[in-house]
């Protein structure tokens, strides 16, 4: 019987997804920006003035002695509102991303793996996807009252079909892979196959999709706020700060400029992380690492 010397593999241990990702420059810098913004959002509230405190006498004051970003039409300090507003936007962004990924993942797995469910789920998804996201969100929010929950729900619904389509396409390719067939041949139960073999392969593309969903959710929240259908002004969010400053744009552009810039920077950071993740976790590139 041929007994050749057992050869120990020499290539290094495959680093976990996170280490691969962090090596990518844009993921690192984008991630750093996000961490800073998140820190400011969480702790900012303690250092700044009370964002709700109204002093009509010092209204519409330019940035300077009345606060770093000046005051709005009710005399509230725009700087503290932008800092506290960050919390809302980040919460909406992450909540929408998490929920839409969770629901989308489940529906996508079912639609991709079980043929008979496929047509039904995908037709409903087509229906949802054909309704323009902003219209659906506006209609949902202004008709059922604008609370954080309804805003998140309204933005999640149009995002779900996109996630379902992504997961379904991944599942359709993975289930043809020989190692899935080998698992079937080894008598592994269906849900175990989905958990062990199909699900892990959807993680990388889902993470990338999650960042894009988060970015677009923050933008949608701002647009909803701007159109007057977003989060109620009692809770400052970048969207409603800008919406309230809309009429005074020519007189006091900073009320729109500062939250707009904060929003743009945050969404930019999220999208840069998304691009970085896409390149570092891209299966094609991952394959070349083999």
């Amino acid at each position: 019987m041929v007994q050749n010397a057992p050869t120990l593999p020499q290539t290094p241990e495959q680093p976990s997804i996170w280490r691969i990702a962090l090596r990518n420059r844009s993921v690192f810098w984008g991630g750093l920006m996000l961490v800073i913004i998140a820190l400011v959002a969480l702790t900012g509230g303690l250092f700044t003035a009370d964002p709700m405190d109204i002093n009509p006498m010092s209204r519409l004051k330019p940035p300077g002695e009345h606060g770093l970003f000046g005051t709005d039409q009710l005399g509230r300090d725009v700087f503290s509102r932008v800092i506290n507003g960050a919390r809302i936007s980040l919460t909406v962004g992450t909540a929408v991303a998490v929920i839409s990924i969770a629901i989308g993942l489940f529906l996508g797995l079912v639609a991709g793996y079980f043929r008979y469910m496929d047509a039904l789920i995908m037709r409903v998804m087509d229906g949802l996807m054909s309704i323009p996201a902003i219209l659906l969100a506006i209609a949902l929010i202004s008709l059922s009252g604008a609370t954080l929950l309804t805003v998140v729900a309204a933005i999640v619904i149009p995002e779900i079909p996109r996630v379902v389509r992504l997961v379904r396409s991944v599942v359709l390719t993975v289930r043809e892979e020989p190692y899935v067939e080998a698992a079937i041949a080894a008598g592994t139960k269906t849900w175990l196959i989905m958990g062990r073999h199909v699900l892990p392969n959807t993680i990388a593309p889902l993470i990338v999709q999650a960042t894009y969903v988060c970015g677009s959710a923050m933008l949608t929240e701002a647009i909803l706020g701007f159109l007057g259908a977003g989060i109620p002004p009692e809770i400052p969010s970048w969207g409603n700060i800008m919406s309230e400053g809309r009429t005074f744009f020519q007189l006091t552009p900073w009320i729109i400029f500062f939250p707009g810039a904060a929003l743009a920077v945050t969404v930019l950071a999220v999208n840069i992380v998304g691009d970085g993740l896409r390149d570092s976790l891209d299966p094609r590139i991952a394959r070349t690492m083999r």
Binding site: V2, P6, L8, E181, A182, I184, A186, G187, R196, R290
Partner: protein, 546 residues
Amino acid sequence: MTPILDIENLSVSLPKGADRPFAIQDITFSVNAGEIVCVVGESGSGKSVTSFTVMGLHDKRALTPVAGEIRLEGKNILGASAAEIRRLRGEKMAMIFQEPMTALNPVAPVGQQIGEMLEIHTNFGAAKRKAKVLQAMRDVHLPDPEKMYHSFPHQLSGGQRQRIVIAMSLVLEPVLLIADEPTTALDVTTQAQILALIKELQTRRGMGVLFITHDFGVVADIADRVVVMQNGQIVEQGPVAQVLGNPTHPYTKMLINAVPSMTPPSRAPVAGPVALSAANLNKQYGSLGLLGGGRVVNAANDVNFQVRRGETLGIVGESGSGKSTVARCVMRLIDPTSGEVLIGDTNIATIAESQLRQHRRDIQIVFQDPYRSLNPRRTVGQSITEGPVNFGVSPAEALERARRLMSIVGLAPEALDRFPHQFSGGQRQRICIARALAMEPMVLIADEAVSALDVSVQAQVLDLLEDVKEKFDLAMLFITHDLRVAAQICDRIMVMQKGIVVESGPTAQVFANPQHPYTRALLSAAPGHSTFDSKGGASAGQAAPL
């Protein structure tokens, strides 16, 4: 007279972080007019890098020629300007590639793609161009060039597409033709026709051909001179008779010996109990089509066979012959349309998934592509123990069994907690075999299990399969398109064509005097048939020294 192509100690460096500094290192050889030079070597030997560097098609960001010269008709083209190189491509030198299915632009008619060559290099009028193209198509013996001129690549067969690529590259009658494994992806009968075509065109036009391959059979059939490469260096070169007749370098010897001989050893018939049998097994694909327009494809048609324990039944045939379909029907990865599949005495052809599950352990499979048959995100140990744990074996005991099997298949048991990407192709196939054996099956199916491996690695895996078959008294169903491999490992053999079993019987008898014309065509089309096998198989039965 000056050689058409003269390469003098050419070196091309790899980017840092690669497993060796140079893709190819001081390569020197030449190609004269009217001569076919075969460059042979295993994957990663640098044979393709050489051909791509000559054409200037290498990946400029990764590979950089650092030394040496490439003289085309005496003129060094290594440092030539991009425009100059572009002019030469097509006029003076041309190249054809391995994958005919993807070598042509899918959205443009083939006639136009050949015509493009003329558009670039000549100022012929449209009519003249079309005439030239049709002539080129006739030169490569394509049926009905007028009609094919307007058809798209996806409407042609692999062989036809390769002929179009050849016609395209030779339309301007270049002096040098570089062919990078042009027939590897083709069926053996088509491969024989293309090799004959290249030989005919080469002699008629007296051009030099640089032919890259890993298959010594092809070298034997077509080469005038041979250059053997290993890890980016030339280990041996010379006239084909001398290199194949008495190779000097041990690596060349090893490669030649590793080529399984076409003459099967005589094997005693196996008497063990029947483990697996199929009775008039059928599988039809195809849509019924609402308006009756549906096409019905008979993937497998009335297939009958038996495999006894300790016996290897080979199923041979070209791609599309239905051999894989039979294997997948037997494994119930796809449901047969009709017929019976008996494992031991239970018919598993049509039973529901729930009862089928406990029978699944009796029959296991090893797939072709080592890179996709192991889940990249799970360790080797987890993949092997998954099966037994499904059937109630305790994780600890399953791990113990896995460790035992790893040493049986020749791998270090400690490697269980590593990930698939850390192993070579050959090592992964061994892991797949271990995974199959972990289920203690009665039947093992090898579906093209060695076709993706290099010849040397192929030999080791075949030996391993032979060993485990004896050790565990398995019934083995071996599916392959490579007659040489079938000759060496199968006790009995079944030849399939378009879903129908055209001939079956003991391997030696089928190889000695094939009854069915298709079997005869297959045997004669096998490359290197005359050179290797007339001497009674240089390597019959010998253990390949390592």
